[in-house]
Protein backbone atom coordinates (compact mmCIF):
# COMPACT_ATOMS: atom_id res chain seq x y z
CA UNK A 1 0.00 0.00 0.00
CA UNK A 2 1.61 3.29 -1.08
CA UNK A 3 1.84 6.41 1.10
CA UNK A 4 -0.99 8.98 0.87
CA UNK A 5 -1.15 11.18 -2.22
CA UNK A 6 -1.53 14.93 -1.88
CA UNK A 7 -5.14 14.84 -3.09
CA UNK A 8 -6.24 12.04 -0.74
CA UNK A 9 -8.37 12.86 2.29
CA UNK A 10 -7.11 10.94 5.33
CA UNK A 11 -9.69 10.04 7.97
CA UNK A 12 -10.27 7.53 10.75
CA UNK A 13 -11.31 4.16 9.28
CA UNK A 14 -14.86 2.83 9.72
CA UNK A 15 -15.58 2.00 13.36
CA UNK A 16 -12.58 3.91 14.73
CA UNK A 17 -13.26 6.99 16.84
CA UNK A 18 -11.90 9.40 19.39
CA UNK A 19 -12.43 8.65 23.08
CA UNK A 20 -10.93 9.21 26.50
CA UNK A 21 -10.73 12.62 28.16
CA UNK A 22 -9.41 15.97 26.92
CA UNK A 23 -6.18 15.41 28.88
CA UNK A 24 -5.78 11.78 27.77
CA UNK A 25 -7.15 11.46 24.25
CA UNK A 26 -7.27 8.01 22.68
CA UNK A 27 -8.38 6.60 19.37
CA UNK A 28 -10.54 3.55 19.92
CA UNK A 29 -10.54 0.70 17.44
CA UNK A 30 -11.84 -2.90 17.56
CA UNK A 31 -8.85 -4.53 19.26
CA UNK A 32 -7.74 -1.69 21.49
CA UNK A 33 -6.88 1.96 21.80
CA UNK A 34 -3.88 4.15 21.13
CA UNK A 35 -2.97 7.05 23.36
CA UNK A 36 -2.19 10.14 21.34
CA UNK A 37 -0.10 12.98 22.62
CA UNK A 38 1.77 15.88 21.07
CA UNK A 39 2.46 15.69 17.37
CA UNK A 40 0.70 12.39 16.75
CA UNK A 41 -2.49 13.80 18.22
CA UNK A 42 -2.19 17.00 16.16
CA UNK A 43 -1.71 15.02 12.95
CA UNK A 44 -4.71 12.76 13.54
CA UNK A 45 -6.92 15.67 14.55
CA UNK A 46 -6.22 17.13 11.13
CA UNK A 47 -7.33 13.89 9.46
CA UNK A 48 -11.01 14.81 9.33
CA UNK A 49 -11.83 13.47 5.87
CA UNK A 50 -12.22 17.05 4.62
CA UNK A 51 -8.65 18.32 4.43
CA UNK A 52 -6.44 16.81 1.75
CA UNK A 53 -3.10 15.28 2.65
CA UNK A 54 -1.45 18.23 0.87
CA UNK A 55 -3.34 20.72 3.05
CA UNK A 56 -2.54 18.80 6.23
CA UNK A 57 1.17 18.81 5.40
CA UNK A 58 1.13 22.53 4.58
CA UNK A 59 -0.68 23.41 7.81
CA UNK A 60 1.61 21.36 9.97
CA UNK A 61 4.74 22.58 8.19
CA UNK A 62 3.62 26.14 8.94
CA UNK A 63 3.00 25.19 12.54
CA UNK A 64 6.37 23.50 13.08
CA UNK A 65 8.27 26.31 11.29
CA UNK A 66 11.63 25.36 12.78
CA UNK A 67 11.77 21.79 11.49
CA UNK A 68 12.81 20.61 8.01
CA UNK A 69 9.63 20.56 5.83
CA UNK A 70 10.74 17.44 3.92
CA UNK A 71 11.26 15.60 7.19
CA UNK A 72 7.82 16.67 8.43
CA UNK A 73 6.28 15.33 5.24
CA UNK A 74 8.02 11.98 5.40
CA UNK A 75 7.31 11.51 9.14
CA UNK A 76 3.60 12.22 8.73
CA UNK A 77 3.38 10.08 5.63
CA UNK A 78 5.00 7.16 7.43
CA UNK A 79 2.79 7.63 10.50
CA UNK A 80 -0.40 7.50 8.41
CA UNK A 81 0.82 4.54 6.41
CA UNK A 82 1.43 2.58 9.62
CA UNK A 83 -2.04 3.41 10.90
CA UNK A 84 -3.52 2.39 7.59
CA UNK A 85 -1.90 -1.04 7.93
CA UNK A 86 -3.58 -1.39 11.30
CA UNK A 87 -6.86 -0.31 9.63
CA UNK A 88 -7.21 2.69 11.92
CA UNK A 89 -6.81 5.26 9.15
CA UNK A 90 -8.01 5.35 5.55
CA UNK A 91 -6.88 7.61 2.74
Amino acid sequence: MPPPEDSSQPRLAAGCRWGGTEEARVVLFPEGAIKLQGTGRQVLEHCDGQRTFGQIIAELQAQFGEADPAKIRSDISQFLEQLRHKRIVDY
Binding site: M1, G15, V26
Partner: protein, 377 residues
Protein backbone atom coordinates in the same frame (compact mmCIF):
# COMPACT_ATOMS: atom_id res chain seq x y z
CA UNK B 1 0.19 -4.87 45.12
CA UNK B 2 -1.42 -1.98 43.25
CA UNK B 3 -3.33 -2.97 40.17
CA UNK B 4 -4.08 -0.79 37.18
CA UNK B 5 -7.62 -0.63 35.84
CA UNK B 6 -9.02 -3.36 33.64
CA UNK B 7 -9.16 -2.41 29.95
CA UNK B 8 -12.14 -4.34 28.67
CA UNK B 9 -15.26 -6.17 29.70
CA UNK B 10 -16.24 -9.40 28.01
CA UNK B 11 -20.00 -9.63 28.40
CA UNK B 12 -21.07 -13.23 27.81
CA UNK B 13 -24.73 -12.30 27.86
CA UNK B 14 -26.22 -15.72 27.15
CA UNK B 15 -25.08 -19.28 26.51
CA UNK B 16 -28.03 -19.95 24.24
CA UNK B 17 -26.96 -20.37 20.61
CA UNK B 18 -28.53 -21.58 17.36
CA UNK B 19 -25.17 -23.06 16.30
CA UNK B 20 -23.51 -26.14 17.76
CA UNK B 21 -19.86 -25.58 16.79
CA UNK B 22 -17.65 -28.44 17.80
CA UNK B 23 -14.93 -26.08 19.09
CA UNK B 24 -17.16 -23.66 21.03
CA UNK B 25 -15.26 -21.68 23.68
CA UNK B 26 -18.12 -21.90 26.16
CA UNK B 27 -17.71 -24.24 29.12
CA UNK B 28 -19.20 -27.74 28.95
CA UNK B 29 -21.46 -26.69 31.81
CA UNK B 30 -23.54 -23.98 30.23
CA UNK B 31 -25.39 -21.36 32.27
CA UNK B 32 -29.14 -21.98 32.27
CA UNK B 33 -31.39 -19.47 30.50
CA UNK B 34 -33.31 -18.96 33.75
CA UNK B 35 -30.13 -17.81 35.54
CA UNK B 36 -29.32 -14.99 33.09
CA UNK B 37 -28.85 -11.43 34.34
CA UNK B 38 -31.73 -9.05 33.61
CA UNK B 39 -31.48 -6.00 31.36
CA UNK B 40 -31.29 -3.70 34.40
CA UNK B 41 -28.50 -5.80 35.94
CA UNK B 42 -26.44 -5.65 32.73
CA UNK B 43 -26.98 -1.90 32.39
CA UNK B 44 -25.68 -1.44 35.92
CA UNK B 45 -22.63 -3.61 35.16
CA UNK B 46 -21.88 -1.53 32.05
CA UNK B 47 -22.04 1.72 34.03
CA UNK B 48 -19.64 0.23 36.58
CA UNK B 49 -17.29 -0.80 33.76
CA UNK B 50 -17.25 2.77 32.43
CA UNK B 51 -16.54 4.18 35.88
CA UNK B 52 -13.68 1.70 36.35
CA UNK B 53 -12.03 3.20 33.27
CA UNK B 54 -12.62 0.29 30.90
CA UNK B 55 -12.56 1.19 27.22
CA UNK B 56 -14.24 -1.72 25.43
CA UNK B 57 -17.32 -3.87 25.91
CA UNK B 58 -17.25 -7.11 23.91
CA UNK B 59 -20.73 -8.64 23.66
CA UNK B 60 -20.51 -12.35 23.12
CA UNK B 61 -22.27 -15.58 24.03
CA UNK B 62 -23.54 -18.09 23.08
CA UNK B 63 -25.22 -15.96 20.53
CA UNK B 64 -25.76 -12.44 21.91
CA UNK B 65 -28.57 -11.86 19.41
CA UNK B 66 -30.60 -14.47 21.31
CA UNK B 67 -31.22 -11.69 23.86
CA UNK B 68 -34.04 -9.41 22.67
CA UNK B 69 -32.60 -6.57 24.78
CA UNK B 70 -29.25 -6.47 22.94
CA UNK B 71 -29.98 -3.05 21.41
CA UNK B 72 -30.63 -1.59 24.87
CA UNK B 73 -27.39 -3.11 26.15
CA UNK B 74 -25.36 -1.63 23.27
CA UNK B 75 -26.94 1.77 23.96
CA UNK B 76 -26.13 1.35 27.66
CA UNK B 77 -22.50 0.52 26.90
CA UNK B 78 -22.14 3.58 24.67
CA UNK B 79 -23.75 5.79 27.32
CA UNK B 80 -21.16 4.44 29.78
CA UNK B 81 -18.42 5.60 27.41
CA UNK B 82 -17.44 2.15 26.10
CA UNK B 83 -16.46 1.08 22.59
CA UNK B 84 -18.95 -1.61 21.58
CA UNK B 85 -18.12 -4.84 19.84
CA UNK B 86 -20.63 -7.52 18.84
CA UNK B 87 -19.18 -11.01 18.41
CA UNK B 88 -21.80 -12.98 16.54
CA UNK B 89 -22.78 -15.81 14.23
CA UNK B 90 -25.25 -13.40 12.63
CA UNK B 91 -28.17 -15.76 13.18
CA UNK B 92 -31.09 -13.62 14.25
CA UNK B 93 -29.83 -10.52 12.48
CA UNK B 94 -31.38 -8.91 9.43
CA UNK B 95 -31.53 -5.34 8.10
CA UNK B 96 -33.91 -3.65 10.57
CA UNK B 97 -32.29 -5.05 13.71
CA UNK B 98 -28.82 -4.15 12.47
CA UNK B 99 -30.05 -0.63 11.75
CA UNK B 100 -31.31 -0.41 15.35
CA UNK B 101 -27.98 -1.68 16.72
CA UNK B 102 -26.02 0.84 14.67
CA UNK B 103 -28.38 3.62 15.80
CA UNK B 104 -27.78 2.51 19.39
CA UNK B 105 -24.06 3.03 18.85
CA UNK B 106 -22.60 -0.29 17.71
CA UNK B 107 -18.96 0.35 16.71
CA UNK B 108 -17.78 -3.02 15.46
CA UNK B 109 -19.22 -6.33 14.38
CA UNK B 110 -17.22 -9.53 14.29
CA UNK B 111 -18.96 -12.16 12.21
CA UNK B 112 -17.84 -15.76 12.41
CA UNK B 113 -17.65 -18.11 9.45
CA UNK B 114 -16.97 -21.82 9.81
CA UNK B 115 -15.65 -22.43 6.28
CA UNK B 116 -15.77 -21.04 2.75
CA UNK B 117 -17.69 -24.10 1.58
CA UNK B 118 -21.32 -24.41 2.56
CA UNK B 119 -21.30 -28.14 3.33
CA UNK B 120 -18.20 -27.87 5.48
CA UNK B 121 -19.46 -24.79 7.32
CA UNK B 122 -22.82 -26.31 8.18
CA UNK B 123 -21.13 -29.54 9.22
CA UNK B 124 -18.94 -27.74 11.78
CA UNK B 125 -21.79 -25.54 13.03
CA UNK B 126 -24.36 -28.34 13.17
CA UNK B 127 -26.77 -25.87 11.54
CA UNK B 128 -27.56 -24.30 8.20
CA UNK B 129 -26.10 -20.87 8.71
CA UNK B 130 -23.56 -20.23 5.96
CA UNK B 131 -25.78 -18.70 3.28
CA UNK B 132 -27.36 -16.29 5.76
CA UNK B 133 -23.92 -15.11 6.92
CA UNK B 134 -22.91 -14.26 3.36
CA UNK B 135 -26.05 -12.24 2.81
CA UNK B 136 -25.60 -10.48 6.15
CA UNK B 137 -22.02 -9.45 5.25
CA UNK B 138 -23.37 -7.49 2.28
CA UNK B 139 -25.82 -5.66 4.56
CA UNK B 140 -23.12 -4.93 7.16
CA UNK B 141 -20.99 -3.21 4.51
CA UNK B 142 -23.71 -0.60 4.01
CA UNK B 143 -22.90 0.82 7.45
CA UNK B 144 -19.89 2.76 8.63
CA UNK B 145 -19.01 0.36 11.38
CA UNK B 146 -15.84 -1.71 11.62
CA UNK B 147 -16.27 -5.21 10.22
CA UNK B 148 -14.17 -8.25 11.10
CA UNK B 149 -14.61 -11.75 9.73
CA UNK B 150 -13.46 -14.49 12.05
CA UNK B 151 -12.69 -17.99 10.91
CA UNK B 152 -11.53 -20.81 13.15
CA UNK B 153 -9.12 -23.22 11.49
CA UNK B 154 -8.43 -26.85 12.37
CA UNK B 155 -7.60 -30.22 10.89
CA UNK B 156 -10.84 -30.47 8.89
CA UNK B 157 -10.68 -27.17 6.98
CA UNK B 158 -7.07 -25.97 7.10
CA UNK B 159 -6.05 -27.64 3.82
CA UNK B 160 -8.04 -25.08 1.84
CA UNK B 161 -7.04 -22.01 3.84
CA UNK B 162 -6.08 -20.14 0.63
CA UNK B 163 -9.62 -20.58 -0.61
CA UNK B 164 -11.06 -19.43 2.72
CA UNK B 165 -8.89 -16.31 2.73
CA UNK B 166 -10.03 -15.46 -0.82
CA UNK B 167 -13.62 -16.05 0.30
CA UNK B 168 -13.23 -13.60 3.20
CA UNK B 169 -11.50 -11.07 0.96
CA UNK B 170 -14.56 -10.74 -1.26
CA UNK B 171 -16.71 -10.00 1.81
CA UNK B 172 -14.56 -6.83 2.13
CA UNK B 173 -14.05 -6.56 5.90
CA UNK B 174 -11.39 -4.27 7.44
CA UNK B 175 -10.03 -7.26 9.33
CA UNK B 176 -9.88 -11.00 9.13
CA UNK B 177 -9.03 -13.11 12.11
CA UNK B 178 -7.68 -16.52 11.26
CA UNK B 179 -7.72 -18.33 14.57
CA UNK B 180 -6.37 -21.76 15.31
CA UNK B 181 -8.66 -23.71 17.60
CA UNK B 182 -7.84 -23.34 21.29
CA UNK B 183 -8.36 -26.53 23.24
CA UNK B 184 -10.75 -25.92 26.12
CA UNK B 185 -14.30 -27.08 26.76
CA UNK B 186 -15.85 -28.43 23.58
CA UNK B 187 -12.69 -28.21 21.51
CA UNK B 188 -10.69 -30.22 24.05
CA UNK B 189 -13.39 -32.85 24.00
CA UNK B 190 -13.10 -32.98 20.19
CA UNK B 191 -9.35 -32.46 19.98
CA UNK B 192 -8.48 -35.63 18.06
CA UNK B 193 -10.67 -34.49 15.17
CA UNK B 194 -9.44 -30.87 15.28
CA UNK B 195 -5.70 -30.79 15.96
CA UNK B 196 -3.85 -30.25 12.66
CA UNK B 197 -0.69 -32.03 11.57
CA UNK B 198 2.63 -30.19 11.49
CA UNK B 199 2.59 -30.26 7.68
CA UNK B 200 -0.89 -28.71 7.64
CA UNK B 201 0.24 -26.03 10.08
CA UNK B 202 3.34 -25.08 8.09
CA UNK B 203 1.40 -24.73 4.87
CA UNK B 204 -1.26 -22.64 6.62
CA UNK B 205 1.27 -20.33 8.27
CA UNK B 206 2.79 -19.66 4.87
CA UNK B 207 -0.66 -18.95 3.38
CA UNK B 208 -1.39 -16.43 6.14
CA UNK B 209 1.96 -14.71 5.62
CA UNK B 210 1.36 -14.39 1.87
CA UNK B 211 -2.15 -13.02 2.45
CA UNK B 212 -0.86 -10.52 5.00
CA UNK B 213 1.57 -9.05 2.49
CA UNK B 214 -0.93 -9.07 -0.36
CA UNK B 215 -3.75 -7.45 1.65
CA UNK B 216 -1.63 -4.91 3.60
CA UNK B 217 -3.41 -1.58 3.93
CA UNK B 218 -6.71 -3.09 2.79
CA UNK B 219 -7.50 -5.95 5.14
CA UNK B 220 -5.63 -6.47 8.35
CA UNK B 221 -4.90 -10.14 8.99
CA UNK B 222 -4.79 -11.25 12.62
CA UNK B 223 -3.48 -14.73 13.21
CA UNK B 224 -4.12 -16.66 16.42
CA UNK B 225 -1.35 -19.25 16.63
CA UNK B 226 -1.81 -22.83 17.77
CA UNK B 227 -0.03 -22.96 21.11
CA UNK B 228 0.45 -26.74 21.02
CA UNK B 229 3.04 -26.21 18.29
CA UNK B 230 4.65 -23.12 19.81
CA UNK B 231 7.91 -22.96 21.78
CA UNK B 232 6.44 -20.75 24.47
CA UNK B 233 2.86 -20.56 25.74
CA UNK B 234 0.41 -17.81 24.89
CA UNK B 235 0.00 -14.83 27.22
CA UNK B 236 -3.52 -15.98 27.95
CA UNK B 237 -5.90 -12.98 28.35
CA UNK B 238 -2.79 -10.78 28.58
CA UNK B 239 -2.16 -12.28 32.01
CA UNK B 240 -4.55 -13.39 34.75
CA UNK B 241 -6.46 -10.42 36.18
CA UNK B 242 -4.24 -7.93 34.35
CA UNK B 243 -6.46 -6.52 31.59
CA UNK B 244 -9.85 -8.21 31.26
CA UNK B 245 -12.95 -9.12 33.19
CA UNK B 246 -15.44 -11.63 31.84
CA UNK B 247 -18.99 -11.82 33.12
CA UNK B 248 -20.87 -15.00 32.39
CA UNK B 249 -24.61 -15.09 31.65
CA UNK B 250 -25.47 -15.71 35.30
CA UNK B 251 -23.34 -12.77 36.46
CA UNK B 252 -20.24 -14.59 37.71
CA UNK B 253 -17.12 -12.52 37.20
CA UNK B 254 -14.17 -14.45 35.78
CA UNK B 255 -10.64 -13.63 34.62
CA UNK B 256 -11.20 -15.70 31.42
CA UNK B 257 -13.69 -17.87 29.54
CA UNK B 258 -12.71 -21.16 31.12
CA UNK B 259 -11.70 -20.23 34.68
CA UNK B 260 -14.65 -21.99 36.26
CA UNK B 261 -12.95 -25.35 35.64
CA UNK B 262 -10.30 -24.52 38.25
CA UNK B 263 -11.27 -26.15 41.55
CA UNK B 264 -10.95 -24.24 44.79
CA UNK B 265 -11.60 -20.82 43.29
CA UNK B 266 -14.75 -18.97 44.18
CA UNK B 267 -16.00 -16.44 41.70
CA UNK B 268 -18.20 -13.62 42.96
CA UNK B 269 -21.35 -12.53 41.19
CA UNK B 270 -22.19 -8.98 40.12
CA UNK B 271 -25.39 -9.61 42.07
CA UNK B 272 -23.34 -9.55 45.30
CA UNK B 273 -20.24 -7.44 44.73
CA UNK B 274 -19.14 -4.47 42.64
CA UNK B 275 -16.78 -4.87 39.70
CA UNK B 276 -14.33 -2.60 41.49
CA UNK B 277 -14.33 -4.79 44.60
CA UNK B 278 -13.87 -7.94 42.53
CA UNK B 279 -11.06 -6.48 40.42
CA UNK B 280 -9.15 -5.14 43.40
CA UNK B 281 -9.96 -7.58 46.18
CA UNK B 282 -11.43 -10.86 45.01
CA UNK B 283 -9.09 -13.74 45.93
CA UNK B 284 -9.99 -15.30 42.55
CA UNK B 285 -8.55 -12.36 40.60
CA UNK B 286 -5.48 -12.22 42.82
CA UNK B 287 -4.78 -15.93 42.77
CA UNK B 288 -2.55 -15.95 39.66
CA UNK B 289 -1.90 -12.23 39.33
CA UNK B 290 1.77 -11.23 39.29
CA UNK B 291 4.60 -13.72 39.81
CA UNK B 292 4.22 -14.92 43.41
CA UNK B 293 2.33 -18.07 42.44
CA UNK B 294 4.79 -19.17 39.76
CA UNK B 295 6.60 -22.50 39.95
CA UNK B 296 9.95 -23.20 38.31
CA UNK B 297 10.90 -22.99 35.48
CA UNK B 298 8.61 -19.89 35.15
CA UNK B 299 9.83 -18.14 38.28
CA UNK B 300 13.37 -17.66 36.98
CA UNK B 301 12.51 -17.55 33.26
CA UNK B 302 13.06 -14.43 31.13
CA UNK B 303 9.78 -15.14 29.31
CA UNK B 304 7.67 -14.73 32.46
CA UNK B 305 6.97 -11.04 31.79
CA UNK B 306 5.85 -11.93 28.25
CA UNK B 307 3.68 -15.00 28.74
CA UNK B 308 2.91 -14.82 32.49
CA UNK B 309 3.44 -18.58 32.75
CA UNK B 310 0.84 -19.30 30.06
CA UNK B 311 -2.72 -20.39 30.64
CA UNK B 312 -3.92 -21.56 34.07
CA UNK B 313 -6.94 -23.39 32.68
CA UNK B 314 -4.83 -25.29 30.17
CA UNK B 315 -2.43 -26.26 32.96
CA UNK B 316 -5.36 -27.60 34.98
CA UNK B 317 -7.03 -29.38 32.07
CA UNK B 318 -3.86 -31.11 30.86
CA UNK B 319 -1.97 -31.76 34.11
CA UNK B 320 -4.65 -31.63 36.82
CA UNK B 321 -2.74 -28.78 38.50
CA UNK B 322 -3.66 -25.15 37.84
CA UNK B 323 -0.33 -24.04 39.39
CA UNK B 324 1.78 -25.89 36.85
CA UNK B 325 3.68 -24.24 34.01
CA UNK B 326 1.44 -24.32 30.94
CA UNK B 327 2.30 -27.66 29.28
CA UNK B 328 2.27 -25.91 25.88
CA UNK B 329 5.64 -24.44 26.94
CA UNK B 330 8.60 -26.42 25.61
CA UNK B 331 10.29 -25.90 29.02
CA UNK B 332 7.36 -27.22 31.06
CA UNK B 333 7.89 -30.41 33.09
CA UNK B 334 4.55 -31.68 31.69
CA UNK B 335 5.28 -30.74 28.08
CA UNK B 336 5.19 -34.46 27.24
CA UNK B 337 1.38 -34.29 27.49
CA UNK B 338 1.25 -31.89 24.56
CA UNK B 339 3.96 -33.81 22.72
CA UNK B 340 1.95 -37.01 22.93
CA UNK B 341 -1.17 -35.25 21.59
CA UNK B 342 0.94 -33.98 18.70
CA UNK B 343 2.43 -37.42 18.08
CA UNK B 344 -1.06 -38.82 17.79
CA UNK B 345 -2.18 -36.00 15.49
CA UNK B 346 0.80 -36.53 13.20
CA UNK B 347 0.56 -40.31 13.02
CA UNK B 348 -2.98 -40.43 11.66
CA UNK B 349 -3.20 -38.26 8.59
CA UNK B 350 -6.77 -39.15 7.62
CA UNK B 351 -9.15 -36.22 7.42
CA UNK B 352 -12.88 -36.84 7.56
CA UNK B 353 -15.37 -35.42 5.16
CA UNK B 354 -18.63 -33.57 5.83
CA UNK B 355 -21.67 -35.69 6.42
CA UNK B 356 -24.82 -34.52 4.74
CA UNK B 357 -27.76 -34.21 7.08
CA UNK B 358 -30.73 -31.94 7.08
CA UNK B 359 -30.91 -31.29 10.79
CA UNK B 360 -28.79 -31.07 13.91
CA UNK B 361 -30.57 -34.06 15.39
CA UNK B 362 -29.67 -36.13 12.32
CA UNK B 363 -26.06 -34.95 12.49
CA UNK B 364 -25.85 -35.84 16.17
CA UNK B 365 -27.06 -39.36 15.42
CA UNK B 366 -24.79 -39.79 12.43
CA UNK B 367 -21.55 -38.49 13.89
CA UNK B 368 -19.04 -40.48 15.81
CA UNK B 369 -16.22 -38.08 14.93
CA UNK B 370 -17.09 -35.44 17.51
CA UNK B 371 -19.59 -34.03 20.00
CA UNK B 372 -21.62 -31.05 18.98
CA UNK B 373 -22.08 -28.27 21.51
CA UNK B 374 -25.48 -28.58 23.15
CA UNK B 375 -27.69 -25.83 24.51
CA UNK B 376 -28.34 -24.77 28.11
CA UNK B 377 -31.66 -25.64 29.75
Amino acid sequence: MTTSNPLALIAEITHRCPLHCVYCSNPLELAAASSELSTAEWLDVLRQAGRLGMLHAHFTGGEPLARPDLTALIAGARAAGLYTNLITSGIGLAGPRLQALVDAGLDHIQLSFQDSREDGANWIAGAKAHAHKIELSRIIRRYKIAFTVNLVVHRQNIDHLDEMIAFIEQLAPERMEIAHTQYYGWALKNRVALLPTRAQLEKATEAVGTAERRLAGRIRVDFVVPDYYARFPKACMGGWGRRLMLINPAGKVLPCHAAEVIPGLEFESVREKSLQFIWQQSPSFQRFRGEEWMPEPCRSCDQRTQDFGGCRCQALLLTGDANATDPACSLAPAHYVVESALAEANSTAAVSQPTSASSFVQLQRAETLWSYRTNPE
